[in-house]
């Protein structure tokens, strides 16, 4: 009894103590990743979601591929079965076709017989109809003959009356014609007199018009000549002025470019002064920020267009940009340069600052 209780070794306590520490360490390590998604859910939902989606997608894709392979195998088997079935079906179909052909032949014979009977029936009916038609035609002929006789009589009476009417009409027409000719002669003479008078007037008017037009043309040509001379003179002046204008424009552009470079440097220096480089930043890190500015120099938006790969580094750059805004120097820029700087990129590197 006493021997067993004598010494307590250090093996079990060491194991227990180390186990305790490892457990605490695991708890502290495991609790952090567990609490991460809750915190980041509001901030970077899309990013995390994308990663998980792709991860799960791969698994799903693998599964789907397996499923697809299984399906294709199944389909192949099915296809084979279907082929067998089709072969059987063909055989069956051939048999059926043979039966059908026989049945058709029988049916054909039957139909031929029926057709013959039908034809006989039709021929009989046609004969009956022909007899009826002949009877009708004879009746018709008799009716037409009577009508013709009646028409002929009526025609004779009409011709006699017409002959009388034509004779009377002839007399009246001749009298009227004589009268019309006399009137037409008078009208013609009056019209000729009128026409001659009008022609005379037109001729005089045309001559007057032609003279006027010729006068106008002459005046217009003179004016054109004068205008052309003036235009030549004007174009020479314009050339000279445009050359001068271009020189000025080039000078302006140079000034604008210088101002733009100066402005970019100004902005960069301002941001770098406001920049707190995070402790983990190395000189190899480089973040490109795209800035959107108002013409007054106020910051509309700043975003990372090319990340350095370190989230805290990117954030520190953005914070620096926000702290350095507004860039009042923007007001002093020429309008063209202002338009250029509505949106532009800046890249940041700790090496430039240190």
């Amino acid at each position: 009894m006493a021997k067993q209780e004598r010494r307590v070794g250090y093996g079990l306590p060491v194991v227990l103590a180390v186990g305790l520490h490892v457990g605490i360490l695991l708890l502290s390590v495991l609790r952090w990743p567990a609490s991460e998604p809750e915190q980041t859910s509001s901030a970077i939902v899309q990013a995390t979601l994308v990663s998980t989606e792709t991860a799960t997608d791969q698994a799903q894709r693998a599964k789907e591929a397996q499923a697809r392979a299984a399906e294709s195998q199944a389909q192949q088997e099915k296809a084979q079965e279907q082929e067998q079935q089709q072969a059987e079906q063909q055989r069956r179909a051939e048999e059926q076709a043979r039966e059908r052909r026989e049945a058709e032949q029988q049916a054909l014979q039957e139909t031929r017989q029926q057709a013959e009977q039908e034809a006989q029936r039709r021929a009989e009916r046609a004969e009956q109809q022909a007899a009826e038609r002949e009877a009708q035609a004879e009746a018709e002929r008799q009716r037409q003959a009577e009508k013709a006789r009646q028409q002929a009589e009526a025609e004779k009476q009409r011709q006699a009356e017409e002959a009388r009417r034509q004779a009377e009409a002839e007399k009246q027409r001749q009298a009227e014609e004589a009268r019309r000719q006399a009137e037409a002669e008078k009208q013609r003479q009056a019209e000729e007199a009128r026409r001659q008078a009008e022609a005379e007037k037109q001729r005089q008017a045309e001559e007057a018009r032609k003279q006027a037009e010729a006068e106008k043309q002459r005046q217009a040509e003179a004016a054109a000549r004068r205008a052309a001379e003036a235009a030549e003179r004007a174009s020479e002046q314009a050339l000279a002025s445009s050359i001068a204008g271009e020189e000025q424009a080039i000078a302006n552009a140079k000034q604008a470019a210088q101002a733009a470079n100066g402005f970019k440097n100004l902005v960069k220096r301002a941001v770098e002064q406001a920049w707190n480089i995070p402790p983990g930043a190395t000189n190899q890190m480089r973040a490109v920020v795209s800035l959107e500015l108002l013409p007054t120099g106020e910051l509309v938006n700043a975003s990372i267009s090319q990340s350095s790969g370190n989230a805290s580094f990117d954030r520190s750059v953005l914070q620096a940009v926000e702290r350095a805004a507004p860039f009042r120097e923007m007001r002093e820029l020429p309008a063209a340069a202002q338009r250029q700087f509505r949106e532009f990129n800046l890249d940041f590197n700790p090496e430039d600052v240190r």
Binding site: A2, A17, N276, A311
Partner: protein
Amino acid sequence: MNESLSIPHLIMNASLVVQLVMLLLIAASIASWVVIFQRSFVLRRAHKAHRTFEDRFWSGVDLNELYRETPAEQDVLGAEHIFRSGFREFNRLLPKTRSNQAILDGVQRAMRVAWSREEERLNQHLIFLATVASSSPYIGLFGTVWGIMGSFMSLSMAQQATLSTVAPWIAEALIATAMGLFAAIPAVIFYNRLSAQSNRLLGQYEDFAEEFHSILHRNLQGRGDREAA
């Protein structure tokens, strides 16, 4: 952000001195827990053994028999050790001297030696716990101060100081203090608890030694009366 501020990441990014401090504190914590477990096992067993021995001792068994049935000298512990050393001294002195006082003195001395050995055995390593409890907060604080020092040195290179610049450094430095407290708090609690337990046991041993001494004294008194008569 979270990944960059998680505790393991901060520990990995700390400066060398702070890392050494953390390593020391982890080692101290592990060692103190080893001591805590070992001592609590030892004390629990000693307590149990003491109770069973007292039951046996007061059950009216003959002392010679009890002395003989207990195994060899080196293996005994606790009250049994005191009993054995006292009784052996008593048996050795009894034939050599007639003076009761000399015998009782010798027995008391032997029992005191045995008791002090037991005390040493029970209080072994408890001093280590006390050391960890008192020193590890200071060690952690040293790591923190060193880390903050480093952070301010690096801050002097930046143009503008903000919370986001200082925060990672200070968080990193404060981990050292946290680890110091993590090592110290269990050490304090268990040092108090274990030393109280061992003191109680030692008091019980002392009581037993006194009682045994009085029994021997009674026996000697009886023998002296017989010889006188």
